[in-house]
Symmetry: C2
Subunit: 456 residues, 2 copies
Amino acid sequence: MIDPRVASGLRDLPPAVMIPRERMLAAFRRTFAAFGFVPIETPHIERMEVLSGKGAGSEEVLRQIFEVTNKGGTPGELALRFDLTVPLARFVAKHVDELGVPFKRYAIGSVFRGERPAKGRFREFMQCDFDTIGTESVLADAETAQVIHAALSAAGLTEFTITLNNRKILDGMLESLGLVGRSASVLRSLDKLAKIGRGAVREELQKATEDGGAGLSQEQAGRVLDFAETGRGGVEILREAETTLGSSAHAGQGIANLRTVLDLLSAAGIPDHRIRIDLGLARGLDYYTGIVFETTVNGWEKFGSIASGGRYDNLASLFTSRRLPGVGASIGLDRLLALMDEAGWLKTSGTRAPVLVANFPGVDPLIPFGMAARLRAAGIGAEVYPEPIQIGKQMGYGSTRGHKLAVIVGPDEAAREIFNLRNLATRQEDKGLSWPTLEDSVKSALVVIDSEGQSS
Amino acid sequence: MIDPRVASGLRDLPPAVMIPRERMLAAFRRTFAAFGFVPIETPHIERMEVLSGKGAGSEEVLRQIFEVTNKGGTPGELALRFDLTVPLARFVAKHVDELGVPFKRYAIGSVFRGERPAKGRFREFMQCDFDTIGTESVLADAETAQVIHAALSAAGLTEFTITLNNRKILDGMLESLGLVGRSASVLRSLDKLAKIGRGAVREELQKATEDGGAGLSQEQAGRVLDFAETGRGGVEILREAETTLGSSAHAGQGIANLRTVLDLLSAAGIPDHRIRIDLGLARGLDYYTGIVFETTVNGWEKFGSIASGGRYDNLASLFTSRRLPGVGASIGLDRLLALMDEAGWLKTSGTRAPVLVANFPGVDPLIPFGMAARLRAAGIGAEVYPEPIQIGKQMGYGSTRGHKLAVIVGPDEAAREIFNLRNLATRQEDKGLSWPTLEDSVKSALVVIDSEGQSS
C-alpha cells in the first residue's frame, strides 16, 4: 500500500480552508474587474532562460527553483515559475502590440519555491497580483492603493492601514548625505527596521561595504534612522520633508507624487485614517523606483504586510527594448487567510448548501430528489442525503457539515403531502407544512437564521 | 535580449479567453455548491510513488509525466500531476476519517502531460472534476447527470445531450455471448465506434488477442456491434434490453439502475430530450463499473464529449484498505470554450468594466477619479483613463477594450458641474447631465444598451 502523504513542504487544502479562500478570491476578482483590470493566465512551466534572466529573480529565489523535465526533453530547459512578475514581463513583451497600453491585468495562481520547509512556509503558494502597465500617471499610483483598499474591504476587513512612501524621497535624503551610490544597501537594511530594530539596522548601515554593509559613518547612519523613524503620519509628514529636503529635485518629485495620491484617494472617498505615510518604508526590492505600498491589519501587524507593491520604471527590459513603466501590487492571500483564521474572522463551514433534504427510509426517493431540485431552482442550495439510513444519522451528518435546515418527509408526511422543517442548530422543528409552500417556508426560515447569526 | 516565447506545447491565455473562462468557472462553482459539493485543492507537485502506483495512470500517461527536481532534492522523487483523480484518491485516503462520508468534492486545476504538441493539444490544461465518494446510492448516480445538466445550463448552453449507459448491461451481454474475460478489450474497441466506424471496430474485435485484439468470432463481433448500434434512444431501449438480456443478473441490475436514474432526473425537472440511453457507450477506462456518462452539444458532436464520467467500485485501493465506492464526472472546460468560441456563442470583451471615465486635458483629475469611485460604489464597473491625452484617443481605447459608455467632463462641463454620456458603439452623446444624476443616468443608459444587445 502506498503512503498517501504529500511531498515535504506541500499541503492539501481541505474544504474548511477552500470555502473561505474561494469566497475571498471571488471578492478580489469582482474588485479587479470593477476597476477595468482583466485576467490573464500564463503556464506554470516556463523556459529556464526566461526565469533565470539577469535580474528576473534574486539569487536566493533562483537557488530554490524547481526544474521540470519530461521523457525526451532536455534537462535544465524548463522550470516552475517562482512568481507572477517574470511571467507578466514575458507576456507583455510578447503580446503588447495586440493588447495596447495602458494594459491593466490581474493574475491569480500558484508559484513554487524549494524553500526549506518550516511552519507557515510552503513550497507552493498562491499569488494574487494586479498591475497597470504602460503609463507613468499618478492616477495609476493612487488607483493601486484604491484597489488594495477595495479588495480588502470586499474581503470583509475593516481595520487596516495602507502605508505609502516614494523611493525618490529616500533617494533625495541619501543625496543630501552624499550617499547616492549606496541606496540599494541602505534600503535593504531599512526594510528590516520593524523586524530587527534600530540597533541591528544601525550596525548593518555602519558595517563596511566589503562586508556586505552600507559603509555609513555613525552620523550618517543616525540621520538615516532618524529620518526613517520620525517620518510616519499623515500629510503633515510631507510638509516637514519639504522643509528638510526642499532643495532636492528627486525628493520634491516624490513629495509631490504622494501629495497628489492623498488628494486622489480622498476624492475617491477613502477614509484618511486608512492611509499613512512612512518615509522609512523601503520595500527591499531594488526594482521599485517611485511610490511603494505596504498594508497591515490593525492589531495584527505581526503578520507583516498583506498587500504590497510599487512603481517600476521598466517591466520587461529582459525581453523587449520597448520601455514599459508600470505600477502594481500583490495581495498575500494565504497570509491574509491565516491572519483572519487566527483572529476568528473567518466564517467557516463544511458546506455552501444551507439545506439538507432527508432521505427517509420507506419513502420514495423521487420525493426528496424532486424537492431539492425545486429549492435549487429557487436559488437555494440543497443536498439530498444519498442513502435511506436512520434519520438521526442523517441529521448528524447535516449538523457536522454545517447545513442550517433539514427538510424531512417521512411516510406519514408523504401520504399527507406535507413536510417538516428542522433547524439543525436549535433542533426546533416546524411541522406539517404543505408541499407547495416549500420554497417560501425554507426562504423565510433562512432569513430568520441569518439575521439571528448577525445579531449574535 | 531573451525571446519571450512560451515553451513548446504551452500557451498564454489572454483576457479575451480568460474573461469567458472565469465567467464559466464561476457558474460551475455556483452549481457545485448548490448541490452540496465542496472545494478541495491538492498540490500541483505529487510524490512520484503516488502518481506511478499500479493502475494510477495508463502507461501512455506515465510516459508523458513531467519530473520535478529542486537543488538538493532527489531526482525521480517528485512529478507534476497528470489528472485530478489520483490526487483525489490520495487526499481521500489521507483525510477520510476527519471528513466522513458521503464526501462530495469538486476540484478545478491544471494538469500536465508531455504530449507531442499538436493543434488543440496542450501540455498543461485545466480539469474540472466533481465526485461523490463513499456511497453506492443510485441517487448519487442520477445527481451526477443532474449536476452536468445544471452546470452546462449555467454556462449558457441549451441544446446538449447527456448520454447514459451502465457497464453492467454490456457485461451481461458479453456474458450471454460467453465473452466474460474479454470485456476490457471489447470496451476499448467499442469506445472508438463513433470515431473510426463499424468496419474498423469489427476488425479490432476479430483480431487475435495476441495481436492486441479481442479475439471474437465473426458472429460474436456482429452481435456486439448490432447491440451497440441499435441500443440508442429513450426508456424504450431499456425495455428491449430487458427482453433480450432478461436472464442475466448483471444486465438486470444495470437496466434497473438506469430506469431509476431516468425517473429521478424526470422528478428533478430535467427535460426528457436532454437525456439519451446508448447501450454501446463504453468509456474506454477499465475503471468504471456501473453507470457511465458522456455529453455532447447538439450539432457540435465533432468536439467529442464535454462532460464525462461514471461510477467506480473503489477509488483509493492504492492508498487504503478502506473500500471507497463513488461516482463523478469531469467537465472539459477548455474543450467547451473552444466549441462555444467556434459556434460564436462566447460573449467576448476586453473588459468587464462597462464605463470609461475620460481624463480630459485641463480638467482636475480629482473629478474623473471621484466620479469613477461613485460609479463603483453604486455597483457599476468604471475605469479612469490614466493620462490626459487627446480625448479621441481615449474614446478609441474605450471602443477597442469594449467599454460601453464614456463619461466625459471637459473644462466647460467642469465649470457648470455637468457631464456628457457617450455610447461608444453608436457614438451618440447625451449632453449636459448634472453631476448628482451620475449613477442613475449611467444605470439607465446601461439598461437600454443591454436590452438592445439581447434583442439583436
